[in-house]
Amino acid sequence: MKAKYLKYSVDELSCDDRFITWVQTQSKAHPDEWYVEGNELFNEKVDKAKALVEAIYDLRDKEDNQDVKEVWSNIESRINQDTNKKGGLRSIWKYVGGVAALLVVVFGVYLYMMPNDQWVTVHNMNEDDQTILLSDNSRIVLKPKSVVRYPKVFESTRNVELEGEAFFDVAKDKSRPFMIYAQNTITKVLGTSFTISAFKNRNEVSVDVHTGKVEVYSVDGKGIQNHIVELDEESEKVFLTPNQKAIFNKNQMDLQKTVMEVPRKLSTEFRDFKFVNKPLEEVFLEIEKIYGIDIQYDKKSLSNCTISTQLDDLPLPIKLKMITKALGLSLKEKNAVFYVNGNGC
């Protein structure tokens, strides 16, 4: 505290921006900040000013959450309509839906600093997602019952620990890869967005990629606590691109890659997936492009296959199932690649 405050009157303290901020938001965490040991005269003024600021603060309206929600849902539906017209952000909205009540809640979140270093632990005890902004402008959307630990300020590295589930939107910084330690996995990225699900009591850890490229490594439990794991060519890892996910089975220490359950459209161009007598090859090309996935099939033997259908609202795996079923072909997925087989049409 600056010395000038010692001369302040109760009125002057009550009007001071820093003093008001302390009373309203920090006095629970730092109760002694404005008191000066041994200076009873000044401390008495702090008491009085604090009481006044609190009394005023208590009068504010507190009942508007319903309106906040109502107005947002109007805004949301309006911008949703606009983007739907263009076919743009609809896929993102599926994700955003779950984050609807975001940030309204601040209660029940334990935030404390580790005693020796500058790490922060956030435990989301709410029923809603909680958003955390990191020092590099990366964002974490922490799901309920999940814990994340991160340095207050990133220095030469960007290491974060996760237990539970979170969506990460990582700011680009080529010189400092962003590493997430979650159970027996390390996810390494340069700048992208993805979701990690790593609960202690579940056998699987999963990493879903929304945008960009991600590397997921499996490691044993020893080094992971101290972040001293050496990642090299030998480490077991998978590369993920959008709509792919890595599943790590803790019991079998087995790392696999596959396609997300509900892949999102990556192209912002609007497609209605309406096909009339279209060759299968063109249909597959379109699906590959929009979802960023790989479909393998024998072009020669399936060259005479054509299809007429409309598949707009169906998730990708169902789309592929409908097409292959209609043509009497088989469909398999392995390591995030779809394999279509059959003897022609």
């Binding site: 109760v10 901020t21 006044l52 009068l59 107005v71 947002w72 309006r78 952000l89 609807a100 939107d169």
Partner: protein, 172 residues
């Protein structure tokens, strides 16, 4: 809610990030609504203006620049819109010109009983400044930007209101 994180969210929103946009909304909507309702009794109008403000921000995210001071920009734009449309509808609680006559009803305060009564009976400009400072959490500088006043005038208004409240509290 630091200025920096509001600024960062706005910047992210300009690259079509709906989530950042929603967070920006969630961080300020509550305060804006309460503030708007202190400007007019027509609460539906306030909600409508909040919706319009954020739809405009979203629709013009590509063409408009990111404001330096996001929070005071939002309060100022919102205040102007609410006052304009409620004046059109004749529903504004007071007119902007009231500030010239400030002090007229100061004498009537003598019989106010609670802090709430005292705040409500303050001259309009003082009342608004007190609410922005102690309810909505804007600092002196931000209030000056919202109300288009200079810093010193804001300080004077707050100091005068606080003096009155203190006298009342200590029973002078």
């Amino acid at each position: 809610m630091s200025q920096d994180s509001l600024h960062a969210l706005w910047t992210q929103m300009t690259s079509d990030d709906v989530q950042a946009f929603e967070q920006l909304y969630q961080l300020v909507a509550h305060d804006l609504l309460i503030y708007g309702k202190s400007l007019t009794h027509d609460h539906e109008l306030v909600k409508e203006e909040l919706q319009n403000l954020f739809l405009t921000i979203w629709n013009k995210r590509k063409s408009n620049q990111v404001p330096d001071q996001v929070r005071s920009y939002l309060f100022r734009a919102f205040r102007n819109n609410v006052i304009r449309s409620s004046q059109q509808a004749q529903k504004v609680l007071y007119k902007v010109e009231d500030r010239i006559e400030e002090g007229v009803n100061e004498e009537e305060n003598l019989h106010a009983h609670s802090i709430k009564d005292i705040i409500e009976s303050l001259p309009n400009r003082q009342k608004e400044v007190i609410k922005l400072r102690y309810f909505q959490g804007l600092d002196h500088q931000e209030i000056a930007q919202v109300l288009d006043m200079n810093y010193q005038s804001v300080s004077n208004l707050i100091a005068r209101a606080i003096k009155k409240l203190r006298e009342k509290m200590t029973g002078k």
